[in-house]
């Protein structure tokens, strides 16, 4: 049977930017990213079990500029997925479905991600200073 090339809907490319769709795809992207990030957690835990040598190696790699960049991405992804996940859970119990509310909660998640990620890093640097 010949396959008929039917038009696919929706054509995502014809939509202008909307906060709702951006948050939606970011939830998935950060989810996959955090999944890869569990490898870092596994490395950290296994090194901790192996002893001071392997553990110092992890700490050295993580505190280098590239390690910090990865850790910053990891923190931001986690904070975003955390707050946007709460947004999803609210929908699951039937809250916040009105379009203006949905947009407002989307921007709130975006703002919280920036603020809380910054706070975590400020706390991290001040812990290091002590």
């Amino acid at each position: 049977m010949a396959k008929v090339e039917r038009p696919l809907s929706p054509h995502l490319g014809v939509y202008r930017f909307q906060i709702t769709m951006t948050m939606s795809i970011l939830h998935r992207i950060t989810g996959v990213g955090l999944g890869l990030g569990t490898l870092l957690m596994a490395w950290w835990l296994i090194a901790l079990a192996m002893g001071p040598g392997p553990f110092d190696l992890v700490q050295d790699v993580v505190s280098g500029w590239f390690g910090r960049l990865v850790l910053l991405g990891f923190t931001a992804s986690l904070v975003f997925h955390f707050f946007n996940g709460i947004r999803h859970l609210a929908w699951d119990v039937g809250l916040g479905f009105a379009l203006p509310t949905m947009r407002a909660s989307g921007w709130t998640v975006a703002a919280l991600t920036v603020i809380v990620t910054a706070l975590i890093w400020i706390a991290g640097y001040s812990m290091r200073g002590i």
Partner: protein, 126 residues
């Protein structure tokens, strides 16, 4: 012979045979992770720049080890459920889909188990 009508059998669990199980498990693990992740991030902040003795001392505490094991269980289960949906959405060939799902599930199990064994080793190993 079943006395149940066909409609009674069709209702409830649907063609996937597990009903809302996947959806519900994802939500339950999400709620558990909300609390566990806050604990984990705060703990890591306290351990910023810590040496091995301090970090392993922290994980030797049985409460910390227990919470870490809980985090690992919920985290890797939640990850498996999430990645499963991603694969089911984007991988179309049936054979490729099943292979991807098996590899993904196996990887989640393997990495999760490695994490759990490392925690147990620090908490109980000599």
């Amino acid at each position: 012979m079943s006395l149940r009508s066909p409609i009674a059998r069709a209702r409830g669990l649907g063609s996937a045979k597990e009903g809302t199980g996947h959806w519900w498990h994802q939500r339950v693990s999400a709620v558990a992770l909300l609390a566990l992740v806050v604990w984990f991030v705060v703990s890591l902040l306290m351990l910023t720049g810590a040496d091995w003795a301090t970090a392993s001392g922290w994980l030797s505490n049985k409460v910390n080890a227990g919470l870490m094991l809980l985090l690992i269980v919920f985290l890797f289960y939640h990850l498996k459920l999430g990645l499963q949906v991603v694969i089911e959405d984007y991988v179309h060939g049936e054979a490729m889909k099943i292979v991807s799902l098996l590899l993904m599930s196996g990887a989640c199990l393997a990495v999760g188990l490695a994490c759990a064994l490392a925690v147990l080793d620090v908490a109980f190993g000599g």
